[in-house]
């Protein structure tokens, strides 16, 4: 599938933003502190930037509001509705944090629930597509949720360390580190399983079932409908990434897993100020890793349409 940058940026940025909103909402990062205030600003910025970029690939962004109408059947519509609804408690909690230096727990909890539900819907857009076998799995949902949480926890632990650096003797923030580690490892275990499944399981559809000509023997494409590329082959027949998949997976693992993990382990033992700087960099590294992973998520995916263009299986 063609990896549209706007969609990759949207899912990665908003995923991290929603993860941070969850951590803030359930009170793991104190919304009343300076770190919490910065956290709310970052979460809102990440989510808004993600949502804005998701409209860039639309043919008619001016009608985007219509996308809120079909929540009964469409995961894309549900995602839109939940994203908007979540802005209410999230905005309220941010208001309390920024202007009243207070942690308004009920709003925070609602925002956390909305954030999780929104990421769930985003993942379900892909996980519900039977046409792309690699995506159609609960693992897709697990990866989206855990990567979002891991990113949020990394950011939050950096911000909490920053708070702690200003109020010495309060070391409770270090409790966030094991949580971040668990989410990080959980996310990559899910992703490893996802990759394994993608390599082993193929769609039940083949060039034979697509053409219904299997009873004649092996089916081969003789001629495409047209010589040049078309919308379908450009959108569903993207091939560049598969060639470099191994290299890109290693890069995703380095930035998304190894560097943040090392940072988390070191942060356990160094003074608060240094830990803050280190962890914020780890969060950036994680975001980079997720961006690469998300790019592969699209670029490596095979769509059944390509069976009609000569692929033997999908």
């Amino acid at each position: 599938m063609h990896p549209a940058f706007s969609v990759i940026a949207f899912t990665s940025l908003s995923g991290m933003g929603y993860g941070l909103a969850v951590v803030l909402g359930v009170g793991l990062l104190n919304g009343a502190s300076l770190g919490g205030q910065i956290g709310y600003v970052i979460a809102l910025l990440l989510i808004s930037a993600g949502l804005a970029s998701s409209t860039f690939h639309l043919g008619h962004p001016e009608r985007a509001v219509l996308a809120l109408t079909q929540w009964r059947s469409s995961w894309l519509s549900r995602e839109g509705v939940l994203a908007i609804i979540t802005f209410l408690p999230l905005g309220l909690a941010a208001l309390g944090s920024l202007f009243f230096a207070a942690d308004w727990q009920p709003a925070g909890w609602l925002a956390a629930a909305g954030a999780l539900a929104t990421v769930y819907c985003t993942a379900m857009i892909y996980a519900s597509l039977k046409t792309v076998q690699q995506w159609a799995s609960g693992l897709t949902v697990a990866v989206y949720l855990l990567f979002g949480l891991a990113g949020g926890l990394l950011l939050a632990s950096g911000l909490a360390a920053m708070d702690a650096a200003m109020v010495p003797a309060d070391e409770s923030w270090r409790g966030l580190l094991p949580l971040a580690l668990v989410a990080l490892l959980g996310g990559w275990v899910a992703k490893a399983l996802w990759w394994r499944r993608a390599g082993q399981e193929h769609s039940a559809s083949t060039i034979e079932s697509a053409t219904g000509l299997g009873h004649l023997g092996k089916v081969r494409l003789l001629e495409r409908p047209h010589i040049e590329e078309n919308y379908l082959t450009r959108e569903m027949g993207f091939r560049v990434a598969r060639k470099h998949a191994v290299k890109l997976r290693r890069m995703a693992l380095l930035f998304g897993l190894v560097l943040p993990m090392v940072a988390l382990l070191i942060a356990l033992f160094i003074p608060d100020g240094f830990a803050a700087v280190l962890l914020l960099h780890a969060a950036l590294s994680h975001l980079l890793g997720v961006l690469i992973e998300r790019w592969l998520f699209f670029a490596e995916a095979r769509h059944t349409v390509m069976l009609y263009y000569g692929d033997e299986r999908a």
């Binding site: 059947s73 697509a210 409908p225 919308y231 059944t304």
Partner: protein, 249 residues
Amino acid sequence: MTSLPQQTDKKLGLVIDLDICVGCHACVVSCKEWNTGGYGAALSDQDPYGDHVSGSWLNRVHSYEAGEGANARVVHFPKSCLHCDDAPCVTVCPTGASYKRSEDGIVLVNEDRCIGCGLCAWACPYGAREMDVAEGVMKKCTLCVDRIYNDNIPEEDRVPACVRSCPANARHFGDLADPGSEVSLMVLARGGFDLMPEQGTKPVNKYLPPRERPAEPSSCGKRSASERESTADATGFFRWLDQALERMG
């Protein structure tokens, strides 16, 4: 509304005969000709006179080879929207632009509501939907809804353009919910089948398989050159000519 109707009164659709199709692309061209001036936005082309021409089409003909060696055969394969009963392209649409009509089962896009997100094209296993790059809206086969109910054109033209134009009569239009309709009888007689039934889309359109062929003569490829060149079975004028030329030495 992108929820699917419980059931549709009719199931209008196409039956495509893979035995007969000669791969001339007449249906491809007439489909584009009719629909670029009909329902919704025109079907644009990009770089139409350049090196990399590309554009939106609602119907395309692929060509396949199936089987091995002397028994391999070429099958031309026209493909347009199959107007699926369980159309995944409809339920994923966030805006309600995509819908399936409860009266006749035709799957359509209301282009005024379409935001051009492209998700429906991802959800269709068959590649029956193409985004129009110039208009930014999704295009698909309309089953020529503006012909089949059109009182302003002669009655014989009230069938889809692709059906009307096929010189080999390989495309047929009718109600597949009516077991007595011509198309239903054809499907029954010839063993009409669904494309990718495992995708669970329950297509309305059906394909008729290529007919069985007599096996190749068993001597094929085993005769010597002189046997293959033998003129012993010539008759009439050619027999006389053969012999006359023979006599000339």
